[in-house]
C-alpha cells in the first residue's frame, strides 16, 4: 500500500474528497489555509472557492448542504467568531447533505491574535465535534464526520490545532466514493428559521445531542487502550500523543475523537478501571470541567495549566516534576521577530506614518500588522479583521467628543477590505467619520501565503475572475476624494497623506503596489548599494526597518542577498549615499 507523508491539512482535504464532497468554501487563515490550497487538484469532481470572509464561506457551504450535496468550509479559530452566526442556526435547522465546518485553533499564537479554545463553540452551538490527532485520523475522521452529520441531521465541527494541521505523518489513502445527491425539495418547516420553526427545531437538536452522546459511547472514534490499572489518561487531539510520550509505558488511555458531546458512560467505565485518572488537554479544561461535573474525580488543569501549547516534556515537568536536562551554554540569542520583507510595499506607507508622531493609526490583521514593530512603530491598535476602519472610527468619535484634535487613520489590506472593511467604510460615510481610511492594496492575501481574493483577478480554481475595484467601491460609498498612491515613492506618499487630511470632501487613500512575492507578476528587481565615502553613519536608513540594512563600523551596509532595490532607504538618506544598480 502506497504511504504518503501528509500534513493534517492535506489529509483533511483528501478526506473531504474521498467522502464525496461537492461544494467547498473558505477564507484563508493560519493554520487552516492549506486545506483549501490542496482542493483545486480535485476540481474535476468538486467545486472549491475562496470566499470574501468566513461567514460567507460558512453560508455558501451550508446552502450547498440544504441543496443536497456534501459541503465543507474551513477557517482559523478566530474565523469562527466571524462565522458563528450561521453556525448556531444551522444547528437548529439541520442539514440535507453532510456539512462539516473545520476550525483550526492556534495554541501559543504562532500566527494569531489570541489562543481562544474553539471547543466551546461546539457546546454553545450544540453540535458534534470531532478532533483528529494525526494526519491519518484527519482523513478517516473527515469521512466519519459526513456520516455523522447526515445521520444526526446536524453540522459537524471538525477541530484541529496548529500541530495537527501542520504536522506531517504517514497516511494511507482511500478512494473517492461519490455521494448520492439528495433530491432537493422546498422544506420551509426545516430551513426557514422563523421563531415558530426555531421553537420546534430546538428540542429536535437537544434530542440529537442525546443520541450523539449514546453514539459516542460505542463509536470507533473513541477508543480505550487498556494497559495498567494504576494510571488512566483521558485525552484527545495532539495532547494524546504528548501524553503517550510523557506517561509511563503501563498507562491506560481513553483516546477521544468525538469530544462533543462527551461519551460520559464510556468515561465513567474507564475511570472505574484505574486508580488515578488524569485528563490531559491543551488550553482550557473543556473535558475536565464536564467530567468533574459528572462527579468523576480527575487531575488535570491544576498541574497542566491552561495557556500555550503543551509538549511531552512540559507534561513530564508538570505531572511528574521531571525537569529537562538543559545545559547553560553561556551565550544568549537575541530576539528575531518577523519583519516586513525587503521591498515590501507596506514599508513606504508605514515609514511615512512613523514620521508623524501625532497621527493615530488603527491597524488590522495581515502582514501590515508588522508596521507596529520597531523601528517603524507606526500602529496604535490591532484587534481583528475589519477593526482597522471601525475601531479608528470609534477613536475619532471619542477625540471629537472630548475636543481633542487628532489625525486618525484606519488601515487595512485589500483582502481585509473585502472581508470586513467594506462595512466599516460604509460606517465612516454614514456617520460622518473624521478619519482617513487607508487600503494597503498589494493585490493578494499576503500573510497566509498568497491566496486570491475578490480584487486579485483569479479564483481558487485558477480561473480569471472579475477584479473588484476598491476605488470604485469607495467612490460609490461617497468617498469623493479617493487618492491612489505608490508607496515606493515617499514624496508622493507624504503628499497623498497631506492631500487626504486637507480634503474638503470625504477622502480615502489606496496605497497600491503588488506584493513582491507574487510569482505571476514580473517585478523590477535590482540591488541598492552604499557609497561608503558618502555615508556618515547617521542611521536614517535604519529607520525604514528593512532586514537587509544594518550599520557596521559606523557605515550602512546592505545585504546584497536580501536587497531587491526598492530604494526606500535611498530616499531617506540625507547624503544620497545609497543608489540603485540599474540592470
Amino acid at each position: 500500500m502506497e504511504r504518503y507523508l501528509l500534513s493534517g491539512n492535506e489529509a483533511i482535504s483528501r478526506g473531504a474528497y474521498e467522502a464525496g464532497v461537492q461544494v467547498c468554501s473558505a477564507y484563508p487563515g493560519t493554520p487552516s489555509t492549506e486545506i483549501f490550497e490542496e482542493l483545486p487538484r480535485y476540481k474535476d469532481v468538486l467545486y472549491c472557492e475562496w470566499a470574501p470572509n468566513e461567514k460567507v464561506a460558512t453560508e455558501v457551504a451550508y446552502g450547498a448542504s440544504i441543496a443536497g450535496v456534501r459541503s465543507l468550509c474551513a477557517m482559523k479559530h478566530v474565523g469562527l467568531n466571524v462565522a458563528a452566526d450561521p453556525v448556531f442556526t444551522a444547528a437548529y435547522n439541520g442539514v440535507n447533505g453532510g456539512f462539516v465546518i473545520v476550525s483550526a485553533d492556534d495554541p501559543s499564537m504562532h500566527s494569531s491574535q489570541n489562543e481562544q479554545d474553539n471547543r466551546y463553540y461546539a457546546r454553545a452551538a450544540k453540535i458534534p465535534m470531532i478532533e483528529p490527532s494525526d494526519s491519518q485520523e484527519c482523513l478517516d475522521f473527515m469521512k466519519e464526520a459526513y456520516e455523522i452529520s447526515e445521520r444526526f441531521d446536524v453540522p459537524v465541527l471538525f477541530r484541529t490545532t496548529t500541530r495537527v494541521a501542520h504536522s506531517k505523518s504517514i497516511v494511507t489513502l482511500g478512494e473517492r466514493k461519490e455521494h448520492e445527491v439528495k433530491p432537493y425539495e422546498r422544506n420551509a418547516r426545516k430551513y426557514i428559521a422563523s421563531p415558530a420553526n426555531a421553537y420546534q427545531n430546538h428540542p429536535k437538536l437537544e434530542r440529537s445531542m442525546k443520541e450523539l452522546e449514546a453514539f459516542g459511547n460505542t463509536s470507533s472514534l473513541n477508543r480505550m487502550e487498556l494497559k495498567g490499572t494504576k494510571i488512566g489518561v483521558i485525552s484527545a487531539s495532539i495532547a494524546y500523543h504528548y501524553a503517550k510520550d510523557a506517561f509511563p509505558e503501563d498507562t491506560s488511555f481513553l483516546k477521544l475523537g468525538l469530544t462533543n458531546p462527551l461519551p460520559m458512560d464510556l468515561i465513567r467505565s474507564f475511570a472505574e478501571k484505574v486508580d488515578q485518572l488524569y485528563v490531559i488537554e491543551e488550553l482550557e479544561g473543556f473535558m475536565e470541567e464536564q467530567i468533574r461535573a459528572a462527579g468523576i474525580p480527575c487531575i488535570g488543569k491544576e498541574l497542566i495549566g491552561n495557556m500555550y501549547e503543551l509538549n511531552p516534556q512540559l507534561i513530564r515537568e508538570r505531572v511528574f516534576k521531571e525537569t529537562a536536562p538543559v545545559t547553560d551554554i553561556g551565550v544568549k540569542a537575541v530576539s528575531r521577530p518577523p519583519a516586513l520583507c525587503p521591498g515590501c510595499p507596506h514599508r513606504g506607507f508605514f515609514y511615512t506614518m512613523s514620521r508623524h508622531k501625532d497621527f493615530v493609526v488603527a491597524g488590522d490583521i495581515g502582514c501590515y500588522t508588522l508596521g507596529g514593530s520597531a523601528p517603524l512603530s507606526a500602529l496604535d491598535s490591532v484587534i481583528c479583521m475589519g477593526a482597522g476602519f471601525s475601531a479608528a472610527m470609534g477613536m475619532s468619535k471619542a477625540f471629537e467628543q472630548t475636543g481633542q484634535k487628532r489625525k486618525v487613520f484606519g488601515v487595512l489590506g485589500d483582502s481585509t477590505f473585502f472581508h470586513s472593511g467594506m462595512t466599516g467604510a460604509a460606517e465612516i460615510i454614514y456617520n460622518k467619520g473624521n478619519l482617513i481610511p487607508v487600503v494597503l492594496d498589494n493585490h493578494i492575501t499576503g500573510m497566509t501565503g498568497h491566496q486570491d481574493n475578490p480584487g486579485s483577478g483569479y479564483t481558487l480554481q485558477g480561473d480569471i475572475a472579475e477584479s473588484l475595484k476598491i476605488e470604485e467601491i469607495l467612490a460609490s460609498y461617497g468617498f469623493k476624494n479617493v487618492i491612489i498612491v505608490d508607496p515606493q515613492d515617499l514624496k508622493a506618499m507624504e503628499q497623498a497623506v497631506q492631500d487626504a487630511l486637507n480634503s474638503e470632501v470625504p477622502a480615502a487613500i489606496i496605497v497600491r503596489r503588488p506584493c513582491l512575492l507574487i510569482k505571476r507578476i514580473k517585478h523590477d528587481i535590482s540591488k541598492c548599494v552604499v557609497d561608503e565615502d558618502k555615508c556618515i553613519g547617521c542611521r536614517m536608513c535604519i529607520g525604514v526597518g528593512c532586514p537587509a540594512i544594518m550599520v557596521k563600523d559606523k557605515k550602512a551596509h546592505i545585504d546584497q542577498n536580501q536587497c531587491v532595490g526598492c530604494t526606500v532607504c535611498a530616499q531617506v538618506c540625507p547624503k544620497s549615499a545609497i543608489s540603485r544598480k540599474e540592470n
Binding site: P31, S167, N311, A339, L340, I549, M550
Partner: protein
C-alpha cells in the same frame, strides 16, 4: 519513546529548511521508518526565527518535542543554534552553518548580535561547523546552502549509507537544480570529517 530519534532544523524564515526536511523525510520513509514532522507557517516566516522538527523510529507518537530531547540540531544560522540549544540532549550533536543574519531588532540598533555563538556550541556539544554559504557560493548558487547542510547532517548522524540519498535528492528537487543540489550534497558530506 527511547527508539525515536529527533532532529530540529532551525534558521531564519526563507532559508530553505523545509526543503531540507523534505529530502530527509523522503529518505527515512524509504528506509521504512515511521516519520512525523512539524512545521510552523504564517507570520514567523517573514524573516523570523523558524524551526522544523523531524522524528523517526519504529513508532513515533508526538510530532514535537520539548527541551533536552533532540539528538541533533541543524542550524542554518549560528545564533539560531544558540536559541534552540536547550532542546538538545546533553550528548546531542549540532551541525551549524557558519553564517550570520542580523535580526530586525539588531538592524534597528536595539541590540547587538551575540559574540561567541560557535565557540559556545563547540564547547558544550559535539559540534560540526560548516561554511555552507561559502561552499554554496563556490558551487554557483547560495540558495543550495540548505542541501550542503543536508549532506553534513547525514554524515554527522552516520546515515550516509542508509539509503541512496543522491537518488532521493534527484527525486525531490526541481529538475533544473538537480546537478547543483547533488554537488551541494557531496560538498556537505565532505565538509564533515568522518
Amino acid at each position: 519513546m527511547s527508539n525515536v530519534r529527533s532532529m530540529l532544523l532551525v534558521g531564519v524564515g526563507g532559508q530553505g529548511a523545509i526543503l531540507t526536511a523534505k529530502v530527509l523525510v523522503a529518505g527515512l520513509m524509504e528506509a521504512g521508518y515511521d516519520v512525523k514532522m512539524s512545521e510552523v507557517h504564517g507570520m514567523s516566516q517573514r524573516g523570523g526565527s523558524v524551526s522544523t522538527q523531524v522524528h523517526w523510529g519504529e513508532k513515533v507518537n508526538s510530532p514535537v518535542i520539548g527541551k533536552g530531547a533532540a539528538d541533533l540540531i541543524v542550524a542554518f544560522e549560528k545564533m539560531e543554534a544558540v536559541r534552540y540549544a536547550d532542546y538538545l540532549k546533553p550528548d546531542g550533536i549540532v551541525v551549524v552553518n557558519d553564517y550570520e543574519i542580523a535580526s530586525s531588532s539588531i538592524a534597528a540598533g536595539l541590540c547587538e548580535y551575540p559574540e561567541g555563538c560557535l565557540e559556545a556550541m563547540q564547547k558544550n556539544y559535539k559540534c560540526y561547523v560548516v561554511k555552507a554559504a561559502e561552499i554554496a557560493e563556490s558551487l554557483g548558487n547560495t540558495r543550495c546552502m540548505n542541501i550542503v547542510l543536508f549532506g553534513s547532517l547525514v554524515k554527522a548522524l552516520g546515515m550516509d549509507t542508509m539509503v541512496d540519498w543522491e537518488d532521493v535528492i534527484s527525486r525531490t528537487v526541481p529538475e533544473k537544480f538537480r546537478e547543483l543540489n547533488l554537488n551541494a550534497y557531496r560538498a556537505g558530506l565532505s565538509a564533515v570529517a568522518s
